[in-house]
Subunit: 78 residues, 2 copies
Amino acid sequence: MSTKAVFYHAGCSVCIDAERQFAESLDPAKFDIEIVHLGETPARVAEAEAAGVMTVPAFVIEGQSYHINFGANISDLK
Amino acid sequence: MSTKAVFYHAGCSVCIDAERQFAESLDPAKFDIEIVHLGETPARVAEAEAAGVMTVPAFVIEGQSYHINFGANISDLK
């Protein structure tokens, strides 16, 4: 069974690059990947925060948050 | 042709978790992944720094560094 991986981003250049290198490059046999643009779906900011996301771009996999470089603080997306 | 991806780490718990979730999960059809333990191969710290790695765990892909969460400062590995 594949693992759910959510990639949260805000459309910034750091985010787009991380999306290209990671969100589109995880093994599709292992992961079911959902890409969430928090700038376009601000209603999901609370969900990302609850999962531990402090900055974007970030992944949430199996309840753990993985921040990749720094694009924006999630507090700036509210 | 697959892209070279180097994953630098230092054996810390944050590193091991990132290795499991990312280094072992990138699509093998797209990436040729090398895993480098800088604690065991300190001679490669300079190479990682030259590629822009400031903290581990981190990937270097196509000349870009991608820092995942925070395990250790590379300056502490010298």
